[in-house]
Amino acid sequence: MMNKPGNLLRLLLILPLLSLLLSGCWDDRELNELGITSGSAYDWENNQWKATYQVINPSSGASGMGGSGGGSTSSPPFLTFTVKGRTIMEAIERTNLTSTREMFFSHSRITVIGESLARHGINQLIDMFLRKQDARETVFVFISQGDAGMILDQLMQMTKNQGAGIQLMIEQESRLLSYYPGIRLYELAMALSSESKSAVLPEILLTGSQTMDETSETAVTDLPSRLALGRLGVIKGDTFAGWLSQKQAFGLSFLTDNVDSATIAFPSRPGASGKLDASFVLQNSATTVRPVWVKDHYVMEVNIKGSGVLTELGSVMDLNDRKAISEMEESLEQRVLELMNNAWTEVKRLKADVTGFAVRIHRSDPKRWKQIEQEKSWDNVFQEIELRPQVSIEMERTGLSNKSFKSVQQK
């Protein structure tokens, strides 16, 4: 039978197919052998990497499971491991000395960089994330003043998976408030490798003094300590350069076109009292930046166009009057300008081009950029950049009433 050419051909086709089976099974892992990591934190301590991993405890995370799986609800939704090593991987491998489960990083949502590490340099960390197969470059990166590992210990209310909770927090924040952009690891890597060589990282901090890391402690309505987003950390090169306050961060968002929707408090009558007594929800905003070479320095023509709705008004005002509205618009524009200038001054002081101006200049004027690069004079050029902002904000609607309640009352 075997001497027929058809059979031989078939055998030749089947043999490689059978060899496929030999390659199977080597990397299969059952779900209950995995330590699903939802977040990681990295610190630099005594010239060693200190890594903290947050591993989900499934029997607590999923509620109402039948069978033997359902553990007691009082067991914490996640556990943390802190390990040290001379390299990151050495630290990771050491988790196997203490944990029953193999670390599984594909579902990580956040990574927190301690200030100590940020001052030491984060190149190696980024490299590990980009190189390792199951590490995800889509994790959100945060910076923490002090010990980053502490952040991962804090339990959250309403969400059991803390990593996912923090991700949700930053996503919502950047969508609704636009104070800080949510920075994913690949975005951080891209920003640091761009012409600007600088990036910003939102700070995550504990509002209270102590970490809430016991499940019984979360059974109160108002936690004494919560996770919160604070300032904006600036990274230059691969090391920490300084902080931007929340207000400056907001201004920077305008400069870098990261404003999605935002609430701006502004004085409705800037001339009279200057008191912040009105709120405006910016629903659309677009920033265009155009570098212009003027004699010996660059002028950045920043043009911001926005529109939105008035949501709060504390002064006597008749909104049927077009003049009143344009007055408010002007006040808003002033407010945005102020925020932006404030941010720009601080960025300049930190000498970190987190505005991405270098990229703009490279794109609009490649020749001059080459020259700047050759002379390595970007820091000087950056310091001499003059900001020429132009803000135009349109108040499209004034909400459901035409007069402020105060003016109704006074009649």
């Binding site: 779900l31 499934p58 029997s59 499971m65």
Partner: protein, 539 residues
């Protein structure tokens, strides 16, 4: 029987039944009766009745029939009575030859009367319910069709029920089956060819087709394959199916079976050839492509939109039934990163404490279901509810609570099982029951990569299959766009102008084009009673 082992290998090796040489009838009635009783023994159901006229020399006849196969009324009234009371036969001097002619042409009030000279012809007729009339002094005998045995009445098909549509199914009787088709296809083109296959069973098999619609090549091929069957017994249509279907070693059926005369008529109208087998209500339709197995006759009895939707669901159910356990195994053991985090945590929580690996867990549950299903078919009706309660508890609650399997696996297995029943044809549903296990094994060893590879292998295999010359995956591979009107969706009937909807038979026009219902415009069309004024020809 000392036989050369070599001769067994020859294709002409007869089945092991004694096939004596043809035996001509003798002149002597006594001799013939003796030979007959020697052949068939003295079985209690064979009735022999002698008759002698009063004339001299007497006309001597013998009637032989099998009790239970004949209609007693017909035998008594049409044969015995009419002969015995005939004055010419009874009284007058008449030669045997003249009597034979008289009986054959005048006396017997029966449609089917045959004459025969050998026992080899007579015996099958006897077993078909004919009454044999043997004559003293003649080497030829008569056989009168008096058949009428107990039959099951026409019932609703049990395996292929519909909500809307005819509720009658084939019965075990071949003649009833052909009659049902005749009733549906009142055309002169309907052809019914009969065969008797099986040396011990002599099962009647009818080839039913419409001349001009069925492809001649297919017909020739089916006839050739039917004639080549040399076996002793055909008890059900599967015997024929296995003998004549293409690709003997494929898990996929290449011949449809149906219990519904309307489905069969529909198939025949598309150029398929029907094969009705005596003794089973399941008839065959060939050639059949993969997509035929997803068409239900109800598709044409419901509105086209819902039919199309249901058909798409069936294809989805096919893939679910084949792949879901395998995908579950692959994703939970190899590709955990593909799951959303919350689902992963929930699945991981369920797996806490489950002792078996996912593959063993799935295998256990699938086998449990197959055992239950088989038990459901075999068990007596009266204890059915008990088994289903135990089954539901074993499969569901208890297994999970005992920590043997995870709750998600129960969902996967039940959904797989239910999906399997969505497919209208049991033939193809059964074939993927087996493929599912292979898939699970491959998923457990190779993950998604293995599933994709095996799907490729399956696809290549299916693309190479043929059913009586028709590619199994046509009209998708090879792609024939104009035949796609009734494959994944069903277009409205007025837009299916060409037959067939696949290349099963010859392509001919089915109906006049442009029959889409239009509102009547009063001016253009003053007489609304006139039916379809511009119906003819393209507008």
């Amino acid at each position: 029987m000392p036989q050369e082992p070599k001769s067994r290998k020859t294709t002409q090796d007869p089945v092991e039944t004694s096939v004596p040489a043809p035996l001509l009838l003798k002149l002597s009635l006594e001799d013939n009766l003796h030979e007959l009783s020697h052949r068939i023994g003295s079985s209690s159901d064979i009735v022999t009745r002698h008759y002698k006229s009063e004339a001299e020399p007497p006309l001597s006849l013998a009637f032989i029939y099998i009790d239970g196969l004949v209609n007693a009324d017909t035998v008594n009234q049409a044969v015995l009575q009419s002969l015995m009371e005939n004055s010419t036969l009874n009284g007058d001097q008449i030669t045997t030859e003249a009597a034979f002619k008289l009986i054959k042409e005048h006396i017997l009030p029966i449609g089917g009367v045959k004459e025969a000279r050998t026992l080899e012809v007579l015996l099958p007729l006897l077993f078909d319910g004919y009454t044999l009339i043997l004559f003293e002094g003649l080497e030829v005998a008569l056989a009168a069709d008096t058949s009428g045995w107990e039959k099951r009445s026409i019932n609703e098909p049990t395996s292929q029920g519909v909500i809307r549509g005819p509720k009658e199914g084939f019965t075990e009787s071949l003649r009833t089956g052909t009659a049902m088709l005749r009733r549906r296809l009142k055309t002169a083109d309907l052809r019914i060819e009969e065969y008797n296959i099986g040396q011990r069973t002599g099962t009647g098999i009818a080839l039913v087709y419409l001349k001009g619609l069925a492809s001649e090549q297919v017909l020739t091929e089916i006839r050739r394959r039917l004639n080549a069957i040399n076996t002793d017994a055909i008890l059900e249509s599967n015997y024929i199916e296995e003998f004549i279907q293409d690709g003997g070693l494929t898990p996929f059926p290449t011949i449809q079976n149906t219990e519904r005369p309307d489905a069969m008529a529909g198939g025949i109208l598309e150029g398929q050839v029907g094969i009705i087998i005596d003794g089973t209500p399941f008839a065959l339709l060939a050639p059949s492509t993969f997509f035929n197995f997803f068409q239900s006759s109800e598709d044409y009895y419901q509105r086209y939109d819902i039919s199309s939707f249901l058909r798409l669901i069936r294809y989805g159910a096919f893939f679910v039934s084949m792949l879901l356990p395998a995908l579950y195994i692959a994703v939970t053991t190899f590709h955990q990163e593909m799951l959303p985090t919350t689902l992963l945590i929930s699945l991981a929580a369920q797996r806490e404490g489950v002792p078996l690996p996912a593959f063993a867990e799935a295998l256990l549950m699938e086998l449990t279901f197959d055992v239950l299903r088989e038990a459901g078919v075999r068990m007596p009706r009266t204890i059915g509810p008990a088994i289903s309660i135990v089954g539901a508890l074993v499969l569901g609650q208890a297994a999970v609570q005992a920590g043997l399997v995870s709750a998600a696996m129960v969902i996967v297995v039940s959904f797989t099982a239910i999906s399997n029943f969505v497919i209208p044809s049991l033939a193809i549903a059964n074939s993927i029951r087996l493929i599912r296990f292979v898939m699970m094994f491959i998923a457990a060893s190779l993950g998604l990569f293995g599933i994709m590879s095996f799907l490729m292998v399956l696809l290549i295999h299916m693309a190479g299959l043929r059913s009586f010359g028709v590619p199994y995956l046509s009209p998708v591979a090879p792609m024939i766009p104009r035949y796609l009107k009734d494959i994944f969706i069903r277009v409205p009937l007025w837009s299916m102008n060409m037959r067939p909807k696949t290349n099963l038979g010859k392509e001919t026009r089915r109906q006049v084009p442009n029959q889409k219902p239009q509102p009547v415009e009063n001016e253009a069309n003053p007489s609304p009673s006139q039916p379809r004024p511009q119906g003819e020809g393209p507008a």
